[in-house]
């Protein structure tokens, strides 16, 4: 129970942290963004409530102080840079603690002290907010909240508080607000409570006019250019942008990933089970008078085929999750890495709504973090170098994601120094990765690709950030394991782009792993009908080949070892035979042993092996070995 709660807390906590972080980012740019302030407040408030369910006192205390500061910012004045820095720091700390809770089940050592420091900092800011001097500089005006109903009617809300002498000045405030383009709603109320009837002054303007427009702020502002000092605008978020409504029907459902995986596995098994039907149909047709039954079976099989196919695809889609939350985790990382290296970077994220299989999202965190570290450590130049090159002091790193056909392209682009091919060649030869002659033959792109070579690390000295004995080779391996690839574009002096090209869905192929002599091979399981053990005496020579009887059919028997040119096994008293269907015909493939069944992301072969007949592709085994996956149908031609 507690574990379940904790799992939910961790998952929701990350979302809330990401939300708060996003809102703080908006506030840092535009401190009077009421929507962002509300969003941030809600996220911190919810986090505080959730933290209270567990024994996480340091977290609760810190969040409580943060909530107080945000509450004051909502009521009293617009936040300043120090406020947002302190709040960013709180959110970062929470994020780190969530990681610690996830991995170790407890808050990290020193959490109590950190909490005290952060809380003290927040309390000091709260005290300064309450100081009268602050109130004097900040008019209370910015605390305006558009009326409830406005948010559903348009994009921009405006409040116009005409001066008391407006009528004398010749203004008609109602005519001005009536000219608002896209006007969708109006509310008129007194600015001050009405005076007693006999004291009412018909020429002193005492109105507040609030309006909502269906158009954007830029289009609305022009109307009020002559009374700009008397109006306030608020950008209303659209229903979609506000995200899930707080009440009412939720369209999303949080499901334990393991259950979805189980569902996917069952759908996969169904594909295999269904394959057996084709064989049954054939057998039924072969029976005397079984023609009709066989055909009916075949028709049913075709229907089942389609349904199972649909199911497979649909289950695959259930597993799709947006990249946004993954990307959001890198904001804190980028700040921390940059701080530790004394560099300034700004991380921008685009395409967070692109959806990818959960397995891929989960597996991408480490590689992307590594690329991010590399970009900040090796890509971004020290401040003085950037200044000389005329680049902005704050380096830009962009994470982008987009789908291209059935692949997703994720790029990490920096505006740093780029990768110097000549230097890579020198380093590679120095480190014995390749010989001088080989290096001289490489063009620039091939040289840059050397950073993916195992054992190559382009840092001159091992730094605390990047030098952890993990190189870009690990990044490439991770991409390959996911059935994709990674490449680097670099423009010297302009920056580098690391590009991951990955499948959107994990196309997992069921593979049977067999051995022939020393070698292991994979056979796509959807071609396998059954496996049998055939005694040597049941094997009969047929012309140049061999055959055996399987129930009432004679099936040709081939040695897989012979087909792939592996060492031939010695003659045995019985053969392990995989019966596969190749072009509608059954064929027996003799193997030494059947060792495993697995789900694997099979990649098509590239390079010289691309055209190798009978090879469907390759996949990486858990021990890092490459497994060739064979297609029996092609092997036999």
């Amino acid at each position: 129970m507690t574990d379940d709660l904790m799992v939910q807390f961790l998952s929701e906590g990350r979302e809330l942290v990401a939300g708060a972080e996003h809102d703080l980012g908006r506030l840092a740019r535009q401190p009077d963004d009421a929507g962002a302030l509300d969003g941030c407040f809600r996220a911190i408030h919810t986090l505080k409530g959730s933290a209270g369910l567990f024994d996480l006192r340091p977290m609760s205390l810190m969040l409580h102080a943060a909530e107080d500061l945000l509450a004051l910012l909502r009521a009293e004045r617009t936040g300043v840079a120090e406020d947002f820095e302190a709040l960013f720091s709180v959110v970062d700390t929470i994020d780190r603690w969530l990681d610690a809770l996830d991995h170790h089940g407890v808050l990290p050592a020193g959490a109590e002290e950190t909490s005290q420091t952060e809380t003290a900092r927040l309390r000091a800011l709260v005290a300064s907010v309450s100081a009268p001097a602050d109130l004097a500089v900040r008019p209370a005006a910015t605390s305006w909240r558009p009326p409830e109903g406005f948010a559903d009617k348009g994009l921009t809300a405006v409040r116009y508080t005409p001066r008391a002498d407006s009528y004398f000045a010749g203004d008609d405030p109602v005519a001005i607000i009536a000219a608002t383009p896209g006007l969708a709603g109006l509310r008129i109320s007194p600015r001050e409570p009405w005076a007693a009837s006999e004291d009412y002054d018909p020429y002193a303007c005492n109105l507040v006019l609030e309006a909502v427009s269906t158009l954007g702020r830029a289009e609305v502002e022009g109307t009020f250019r002559f009374v700009a000092d008397q109006v306030e605008f608020v950008d209303l978020m659209t229903r979609e942008a506000r995200g899930a409504p707080q009440h009412g029907a939720r369209k999303t459902l949080r499901i334990d990933a393991e259950r979805v995986d189980r569902l996917a596995a069952l759908a996969g098994d169904l594909v295999i089970a269904k394959n057996g039907l084709a064989d049954l149909a054939a057998q039924a047709e072969a029976l005397p008078g079984g023609q009709a039954l066989g055909q009916a079976l075949r028709a049913r099989q075709a229907q089942l085929d389609r349904l199972v196919g649909d199911l497979h695809v649909t289950v695959g889609k259930v597993r799709l999750v947006a990249l946004g939350p993954l990307f959001a985790r890198f904001h804190r990382m980028a700040r921390e890495i940059a701080r530790s290296l004394d560099k300034a970077v700004s991380l921008e994220v685009e395409g967070g709504d692109v959806e990818v299989d959960k397995t891929i999202v989960d597996a991408l965190f480490e590689p992307l973090l590594h690329v991010l570290r590399n970009a900040i450590d090796h890509g971004v130049e020290p401040a003085e170098v950037r200044a000389r090159a005329g680049k902005p002091a704050v380096a830009s790193i962009r994470f982008t994601a987009r789908t291209v056909a059935d692949q997703v392209v994720i790029e990490v682009r920096d505006d740093g120094a780029g990768v110097d091919p000549a230097r890579i060649r020198t380093l590679a030869t120095d480190r014995g990765v390749l010989t001088q002659e080989a290096a001289d033959r490489l063009d620039d792109q091939a040289s840059i690709d050397l950073i993916f070579t195992p054992g190559f690390s382009s840092a001159n000295e091992v730094s605390a950030v990047s030098g952890r004995g993990v190189g870009m080779d690990v990044v490439r391996e991770a991409a390959q394991k996911l059935g994709g690839k990674v490449e680097v574009d670099s423009q010297l002096g302009q920056g580098a782009t690391v590009r991951f090209i990955l499948p959107v869905t994990m196309v997992l192929t069921k593979v049977m792993v067999v051995t022939c002599g020393e070698e292991r091979y994979g056979l796509a399981l959807d071609t396998v009908v059954e496996t049998v053990r055939v005694a040597a005496e049941r094997i009969v020579p047929v012309r140049a080949g061999r055959a055996f009887q399987l129930r009432d059919a004679v099936v040709p028997l081939l040695s897989l070892g012979d087909l792939v040119g592996a060492a031939s096994a010695e003659t045995r008293s019985s053969e392990r035979v995989v019966v596969a269907r190749a072009r509608g015909e059954l064929v027996g493939l003799a193997v030494d042993a059947i060792v495993d069944r697995m789900d694997a992301a099979v990649r098509p072969m590239t390079g010289l092996l691309a055209g190798a007949p009978g090879v469907m592709g390759a996949t990486l085994l858990a021990d890092g070995a490459v497994l060739m996956v064979l297609d029996p149908a092609e092997l036999l031609t």
Binding site: S166, Y167, A178
Partner: protein
């Protein structure tokens, strides 16, 4: 414009300008005028609207002008929260 007094009903006709605010206020201040007919009204200055808001007469008649009818009238009638001045 014309302000027509008809017993307890005050009719606003044509376009009401800023200078109409004062006579309207005078009428509404008197206890006898409690209803406002906007059917023939073609435009309302902010100062006139302010007087209507301040004295909250009962409004009858629907003006033809789309802005008055669809935007302003709901705002005048819907504004229930403002304090009603009492002599």
């Amino acid at each position: 414009m014309t302000i027509v007094r008809d017993g307890p009903v005050v009719r606003l006709q044509g376009i009401c300008r800023v200078e109409d605010a004062e006579p309207l206020t005078a009428l509404l201040q008197g206890a006898s005028a409690s209803t406002l007919d906007l059917a023939a009204c073609e435009g309302l200055h902010g100062a006139v609207i302010q007087a209507i808001l301040a004295f909250r007469p009962k409004i009858i008649g629907v003006p033809d002008d789309p802005f008055l009818r669809d935007v302003l009238l709901p705002a005048l009638i819907g504004e229930q929260s403002c304090e009603v001045p009492r002599a």
